[in-house]
């Protein structure tokens, strides 16, 4: 029971920290922000890895590796595309360097 409370506490605390931080972000960066948090949601890759910490049946392994493929696609693709997008944003000062 305490375990559940600790986990719920973690959830609520993180949710509020996220809430405070994200409210400050200018709408200029909402697309990259969404793309970045989208990549972070691929954090299920940790869960997928944990599936392989105990030996499982063949079906379990197939589902597990599918989960890893999907999650890595999400994480790597998400961060790569965000980086590309942010590389496009140029302000006045940056342009003068060219």
């Amino acid at each position: 029971m305490t375990n559940l409370l600790v986990m719920l506490g973690f959830f609520i605390a993180s949710f509020f920290i996220g809430y405070i931080l994200i409210s400050r972000i200018p709408s200029l960066l909402h697309t990259p922000l969404m793309s970045m948090t989208n990549a972070v949601s691929g954090v299920t890759i940790l869960g997928a890895m944990l599936l392989f910490t105990i030996s499982g049946t063949a079906t379990e392994n197939i589902f597990g590796s599918l989960a890893i493929v999907a999650a890595t696609f999400n994480v790597v693709g998400g961060f790569a595309i965000t980086d590309r997008m942010l590389g496009l944003f140029k302000g006045k000062s940056k342009k003068e360097n060219f």
Binding site: F15, Y19, I25, T31, L33, T72, K92
Partner: protein
Amino acid sequence: MTLIIDFLVISGLILGIWLFSEPRKARFGNFAAAFSLFCAFVLILYRYQIINVNTVAISLMFGAIVGYVVARSVNMNQIPAMVAIQNGAGGAAAFLVSFVELTRADQSLNSVTAISGIIGLAVGAFTFSGSMVAGAKLANKMRQSPQTLSNHNFLVLVTIWGMFAACATSFHVSSESAFYLHLVQIVLSCLLGILFSIRIGGADMPVLISFLNSMTGMAAALCGMVLSNRLLIAFGAIVASSGYILTYMMCKAMNRNIIKVFIPDSQPSQPITQSTTVVSSEKIAKDSKLPDSILEPEAEGNNEVDNVVSAAEPVEPAICVDPLADAAKALLKAKSVIVIPGYGMALAKAQFKVLELASILTKRGASVKYAIHPVAGRMPGHMNVILAEAEVDYDDLIEMEDVNSLFSDTDVAMVIGACDVVNSAAIEVEGTPISGMPILLAHEAKQIIVCNFDDKPGYSGVPNPLYKNNKTIMLQGDAKATVTDLIARLN
């Protein structure tokens, strides 16, 4: 000790998000977030013994290579679709993890983990199929308009009921039958995701995509509950709150209730929009006494709405013979120009030409700014990325609250592929679907140039009085071609 390390990793992500408050630092912020996720990954490897290293390594390599190659190859117009598809992949991973955990034969789950697992399964599968439908719509592989099946709400209710039934039964049966019940639950959740997404379309896409983003975060956090993993819970919760805030902001920017966006009227939408538009256009014609319209010769009049407007007020013959010349003249005289981009500009890939036009005007001493409506485009902040691709300075991109006071002192407001975000019916006419929605006050500018494909109403179905304003010069046709012609005239 482990708690401290976990906190450090989470604060890496928090730092990453914090850096997003300034465009200059955002790229480093993205790197910080990626790095903290990588640290979490390494921690898992360090703390647990991985069995089946080969399978894991191959899966990781495969996912990473495909993810990277795809992310490198898409262009900026495909970003919304890409984000939706990646989001779907995240959802798929979440429901697969929950599924394996729930159905493990040699493990008895306590009720907390079982319940979070079942919710995680449903949320993950729902996000997966919902995002895939959204992705297909955004990539134009599917019609963007809302698709409502007959008895749509009934089907949704049946699906939800079936899911609950499958969940409840799965607690009371042998583990083998529970396996199949969970499969049924996945199928039903996927079906629900499809039913949910297909009837949301066009301009409501930013809300849908933010909502789905929030749901994957939720699914990841639920996975964390199942596995009792703090890092998963924290990361998932942060994503969930981010998606939640964006959903709320998008709804506010459209002055719409989230429930109204997601559960539109159940009757087939066509006749409803038709009748409301007719009523509202009559209203506009009567209430606001529109000035004589400048009708394009090619106005086809095949639209019922057009007929009503023409019937309500006698239309004078086209006054303006060469709108392009008028537009060029207005732009040459202008000291200040505000460009209002919309999804049409992205569709026509006109952003590069728009920048070319803007730089000509700037060289002539005019100031050119860009007014960005929060819901312009197909995802939050979409227009900013499209314009950034054309190398527009982000200092020139101005948000709605700041730009609206500038319009009355502006010589030319140039609308490019946008309709509902400048639809003054939203503030002038009561009872339309967009009434009360905050808009960009383009009609306050001294002259308005509209480069839209046609003069039909936008996604909301409400005719735009701006088109009939006597300050407005309508340049119909493909935005890229129109802007190119304008540039030729200016030279």
